[in-house]
Amino acid sequence: MSTPTPNTNALVRAWYDKETRSVIVQIIAAALILSFFAFIINNAVVNLSNIGKDINFSFLWDNASYDINQHLIEYSSTSSHFRAMIVGLINTLLVAVAGIVLATILGFILGVMRLSRNWLTQKIAYVYIEYMRNVPVLLHILLLHGLIVSSLPRPKGSYNFGDTFFLNNRGFQMPSPEFQSLFWIVGGFVVAGLAFAWWFSRYAKNVQDTTGKTYPVALINLAAILLMPLVVYFALGSPIEWDVPALKGFNFKGGMVVRPEFIALWLALSLYTAAFIGEIVRAGIVAIDHGQTEAAQALGISNSRVLKLVVIPQGLRVIIPPLTSQYLNLAKNSSLALAIGYMDIVATIGGISLNQTGREMECMLIVMAIYLIISLLISSGMNWYNDRIRLVER
């Protein structure tokens, strides 16, 4: 029997040491992961160069040469691919933000309905939630788009709301504002009103904390933000002209239009995500110990204040983290826009630009980077909010 060399001994000893072993395992794992990615990247580069392609982003400044129906910034077929990308990004953000707002409102209503003591209300919410979240969101999108396009009348037979608003299968037409030169004064008053409201809320809270005296804060602030600018607006002789849509030829001309593709995508994403948010809200409320409510009631606080001051602030702590992931899902699901031809980031730079220029690698990298940034922004925003409402330990 030979004696093991000291060298092996040291290695063996190192392996049996828990700390060292975990370091070794981690180094090996990291090396494996790194070499795996190095292999993939190398593979892509080699295969691209085999068919004579490089990775080059200069195509972004070439003419896009295609038109986009919904563009919130100036865009035409002579604009660059980069501008097409921005148009797509704005469309993605628009539907994501609008979707998050509507999904949150509906979700909170559904969550409260689920806890209602009224049998019918509770069952309606239950059936709705189970139906929505058990059918893929793509089907909701296709169904809604099909319904809007097939069941609404064509432009000539539009539903007419006072010759100003029109609803048909090309979308919802409405007047668009054209701001005259004096309008900036009204805008100034809105900003001033907002600043006043911010100051006044703090001031009122301070007064209440020190003297117990309360002001009708909401009413006064509302007057500052809305009433004052309105008075100024009419005093200046209404410096907005409305461009009212009118049927000319095939379609309505003038005004703004909310297209069926946007409506279908927005509603489908909101209705779908609202079902999940409803369950999260219910869980958040149920998680608050009933003793809290009883304790608050024992102090003689009114029911609405019990909700506002005791239940909701504590429930939010349970609700916010899963809510964040629902927001992320909604933002990412908006890429299903492709199925109905809503021109989002995937359809513009990741679709038509990709196809017309043949720059698959570059376009996909851009789209992935943009989604990553959007998701990280949502997460960090929600984390910031989560930190703010967290239980302050004294």
């Binding site: 494996l32 795996f36 292999f39 593979n43 295969n47 085999n50 068919i51 004579g52 392609k53 040469s65 295609y66 038109d67 986009i68 129906n69 035409s76 077929s77 002579t78 099909g146 396009v149 097939s150 064509r154 299968n169 090309r170 000319k248 030829g249 095939f250 379609n251 001309k253 069926p260 492709l338 199925a339 031809g341 021109m343 359809a347 679709g351 038509i352 990709l354 196809n355 017309q356 220029t357 043949g358 698959e360």
Partner: protein, 341 residues
């Protein structure tokens, strides 16, 4: 440890397949025993599965002709359906060996997308279809219309150019497939459907009453449609190119589906052109890396160019597309295939 072994083997295998893909396309096709042909997801008359699931149509017949020439059996084709957007990626990534998908040849596709185009087998142009009830007679009356348009196509760019050049506005309604375009057009989401005139004829033929829809007289672009292969494999490009040329030459020389194999089996006749085509004279097949009867088999598979045209898209089919430009050069068209010699 088992898991790590599996992972390592997996990685090694991936590495091997990644390097092994460099053999010539002809060898790959022969080794696989089938030709992977990229076609549309379904465009009646060009490539669409029939009631029994068999792909039929103009493009499908060209796939079969190539398979017959290369593999000796026109049914050894695996049809790979693709949208306007996915077609080139599928070809370039090796999911398909050859592409016949009513694809327009353009400079940027040829050069920047790294494709090699085969000879044009269908001369087309972009047109507009509108419901007859709209009473529109010219594409110049389309100001303000909503237009259904397949994304990722040259038609999308032509459309933008045409409306800009004529100072007209329009609302593009982007769609992915011909089927989706049809649905949106029928539902009235768009007033106009635009694509190649052949595609319009194909779509119009699907209506219960095709007379309710008119194809406007304006043809706003040149759309030379042809097959394509990947850049960089000249031998494979040559094979595709000469199969197409052989089918066109066959029509010119009167070699057809019925007599091709007989001509190839019998002693050489007195027409040297036909002899070279069917392989009884010269060594054309060997130059391509194929056997002598490659062209005879390709012709016997689905007929010569004229037979393929008449059977799938010609005046006696629901598509009712006259020969027009797609006639032989000595018959008033522009089909002028290079000679096989």
């Amino acid at each position: 440890m088992k898991l790590i072994n599996k992972v390592l083997t997996g990685m090694a295998l991936t590495a091997m397949t990644a390097t092994a893909a460099q053999a010539s396309t002809l060898e790959d096709v022969r080794a696989a025993g089938e030709l992977k042909c990229v076609v549309t997801t379904g465009l009646a008359g060009f490539a669409a599965p029939d009631a029994n699931g068999r792909w039929e149509g103009f493009d499908a017949d060209f796939c079969r002709a190539v398979a017959a020439a290369v593999l000796g059996d026109g049914d050894k084709v695996k049809f790979v359906p693709s949208t306007g957007k996915t077609r080139f990626t599928m070809l370039n990534s090796g999911e398909g060996d050859i592409l016949f998908r009513n694809t327009t040849e353009t400079l940027s596709r040829d050069v920047d997308l790294k494709l090699s185009f085969l000879p044009v087998n269908f001369y087309d142009g972009q047109g507009f279809m509108v419901p007859a009830s709209l009473g529109v007679n010219s594409a110049l009356d389309l100001d303000g219309a909503s237009v259904c348009i397949q994304t990722g196509t040259t038609t999308e760019l032509n459309l933008a150019d045409y409306f800009r050049a004529n100072g007209m506005s329009y609302e593009p309604v982007p769609i992915e497939t011909n089927e989706e375009g049809f649905t949106n057009y029928v539902a009235g989401r768009c007033d106009v459907y635009t694509t190649d005139a052949s595609g319009l004829a194909s779509t119009r033929a699907k209506f219960d009453d095709p007379t309710q829809h008119v194809v406007l007289p304006e043809i706003i672009s040149k759309e030379p449609l042809g097959g394509a292969v990947r850049h960089g494999d000249d031998q494979w490009h040559d094979i595709g190119k000469w199969v197409v040329n052989a089918l066109i030459n066959a029509e010119e020389m009167g070699v057809n589906q019925k007599n091709a194999m007989n001509l190839a089996a019998n002693a050489p006749g007195n027409n040297p052109g036909i002899n070279r085509l069917v392989g009884t004279e010269g060594s054309m097949g060997a130059m391509l890396g194929l056997d002598a009867k490659w062209a005879a088999r390709a012709i016997a598979q689905g007929g010569n160019y004229g037979e393929i045209y008449e059977r799938n898209v010609g005046p006696n089919t629901p598509l009712e597309i006259g020969r027009g430009l797609n006639n032989l050069w000595n018959n008033g068209g522009v089909l002028y295939a290079a000679p096989i010699r």
